[in-house]
């Protein structure tokens, strides 16, 4: 009799799958697809397309400001976004200055990624981006609100104390660098690009959106609320989450609105070619299949749980 009472019904079994088993399946579902070379079809979202369109429209030799506030805590999404952004900027010879207003780790993380992309370019025999000449690390500005106001009102003064070593090793003010040649205020910057996993993008948008073209590359968590700023035109383009990374990589590979061959040159206005034959499909392409696999597992777990509840209730009623 006792044996009969202890025997679990199917519904109860479904509801009592050990956590360890679920975690083990999750590990398999996220580790195995990483080794698979399957390309998922992609149609870039409008916001990602506009981001790419603006990045490809910036005249060569211009300067952009990159506010990099991400750290390794959001590496899964932000690293892919930052890699793609740097590849586009470097391939188009656009100068950039990186500043951080969020996490103290952010400046070092950004420097490491620039070095990594530079190594990638060196291996392919491409020109390396030189600090001082082509890019600057402006470091950490711990007060996002004050920094945003400072950049809006007087950018030169905000960066006045920052120094970098020039080609001869002499420490000089960053505003004297070729990166800031011809730049006096934020209005002279071609674009202000924010890569973040926090609300730091919103603090910058609130202070700068009417002074400079603003673009954002944010994590999936920040995506929905940042989309409001895109819909209202305060942001001219944005990439959100892993889908945003995959969108950028897809456009870097195949171009945007390119009807013929992706490497047709010159592109007509409205067509933005990609960079075929170069490293385009990276983190986003590698992770997107695994994301599908993990989401499928999540949906399966929800379905199994609901079936378990329904079966248990039926058993209770009978």
């Amino acid at each position: 009799m006792a044996q009969v009472q202890n025997e679990k019904t199917l519904g109860e079994k479904l509801l009592s799958i050990p956590r360890g088993v679920l975690f083990f399946i999750l590990v398999l579902a996220t580790a195995i697809p990483l080794r698979c070379k399957v390309t998922i079809p992609n149609n870039p979202a409008e916001n990602s397309a506009n981001l790419y369109r603006i990045l490809m429209s910036i005249p060569e030799g211009s300067t952009v400001l990159v506010q990099s506030d991400w750290t390794n805590s959001t590496r899964g999404e932000s690293r892919g976004q930052f890699d793609a952004l740097l590849r586009i900027l470097m391939r188009r010879n656009i100068k950039f200055a990186v500043l951080s207003v969020g996490d103290p780790q952010a400046p070092q993380v950004a420097k490491d990624v620039v070095d990594a992309i530079n190594r990638e370019r060196a291996e392919k025999g491409e020109r390396q981006y030189r600090r001082w000449e082509d890019w600057l690390s402006l470091g950490l500005f711990p007060n996002a609100e004050g920094t945003g106001n400072g950049i809006a009102l007087n950018m030169s003064n905000t960066f006045a104390t920052k120094e970098e070593s020039d080609a001869s090793g002499m420490k000089r003010k960053v505003m004297l660098s070729p990166v800031f040649q011809g730049v006096e205020s934020v209005a002279d910057i071609a674009a202000y690009i924010i890569v973040t996993g926090t609300k730091s993008s919103q603090i910058a948008i609130e202070r700068l959106n009417n002074k400079v073209t603003m673009l954002a590359l944010v994590t999936g968590v920040m995506g929905p609320e940042t989309l409001t700023y895109y819909a209202s035109g305060q942001l001219k383009g944005m990439s959100a989450g892993l889908k945003g990374v995959y969108d950028l990589e897809t456009m870097m590979e195949s171009g945007l609105n390119v009807t013929g061959s992706p490497n047709q040159v010159p592109a007509v206005p409205g067509e933005y070619p990609g960079f075929p034959g170069q490293t385009n499909l990276a983190k986003g392409t590698q992770y997107i299949l695994t994301l599908h696999s993990a989401i499928f597992l999540l949906i399966a777990a929800v379905v199994i749980g609901n079936i378990g509840v329904i079966l248990s209730r039926k058993k209770g009623q009978s």
Binding site: T74, Q202, G241, Y287
Partner: protein, 250 residues
């Protein structure tokens, strides 16, 4: 140390930390606690050093002291001693730890709050002004050539400009839905008086459901982000670490 060996050791420590921190999902344990404390210690140490090297030294200390001319290193710079005023002002904040003199800490906090509050009027308008303007969407189609907005692929710039300038019926429907959503959600937040009118209360209820749909979409996006973080950790362990070990073994 050989760079390959260094990389392998560095990544192995990273793997141990990753696995250690994830073990808390199973249950609380000492391995997790150890790595949690390592992480907190490193983060606090890093933050302290970075605040000095990246911010205070350049923006305050060097600016205050100035720089002497050093051949090939520095062209020299005058010091601005007025920056010294910042130190006592900042130190006042630490009186928060004194029971007797904690009121003194309110002075720097008050200055910061005042500066912040003063910005808010302008910031509020710069934030929500464009959003309010963008909520006023056209609801009447300007063309019936096509139900939906045509794809841009293969169009000439003139055709693209024409497509962008027109409001297609599907866009008009989308705009009507957006306006209804804005009005219903705003109605939901009418808490100051009782909603007796049936139309208003129905709009409020609709607003609540629409908010739920919005929260659901946000939650879905959040779940995807959490998965992305896990996927990156799995990439770190199963690809980056394995590759480093393979290189080490040769």
């Amino acid at each position: 140390m050989n760079p390959v060996t260094y990389d392998a050791i560095k990544l192995t420590l990273g793997v141990l930390a990753t696995v250690g921190l994830y073990t808390v999902l199973y249950r609380e344990n000492k391995f997790y606690r150890f790595w949690e404390h390592v992480f907190l210690g490193l983060a606090a140490g890093w933050a302290s050093v970075t605040l000095w090297t990246e911010t205070l030294k350049e923006n305050w200390w060097d600016a205050m002291l100035g720089k002497s001319v050093e051949q090939g290193v520095s062209t020299g710079e005058p010091g601005y001693w007025i920056y010294a005023v910042m130190l006592p002002l900042g130190v006042l904040g630490y009186f928060v730890y004194s029971k007797k003199h904690s009121w003194i800490a309110k002075i720097p906090i008050g200055i910061i709050l005042g500066l912040w509050s003063g910005q808010q009027i302008q910031i509020w308008w710069q934030t929500y002004g464009p959003q309010m303007k963008a909520s006023m969407l056209p609801v009447v189609p300007t063309t019936w050539e096509s139900l939906t907005r045509p794809a841009m692929n293969g169009l000439t710039p003139e055709q693209m400009a024409s497509v962008t300038a027109n409001i297609y019926p599907s866009q008009a429907i989308g705009n009507i839905l957006a306006i209804i959503t804005v009005i219903c959600v705003l109605t939901y937040f009418l808490f100051s008086f009782e909603l007796k009118n049936k139309v208003v209360s129905s709009m409020s209820l609709t607003g609540r459901y629409l908010l739920m749909i919005g929260f659901g979409a946000i939650f879905g996006s959040t779940v995807m982000m959490r998965f992305s973080l896990l996927i990156d950790r799995m990439y770190f362990i199963t690809i980056e670490w394995f590759d480093a070990l393979k290189l080490l073994i040769g």
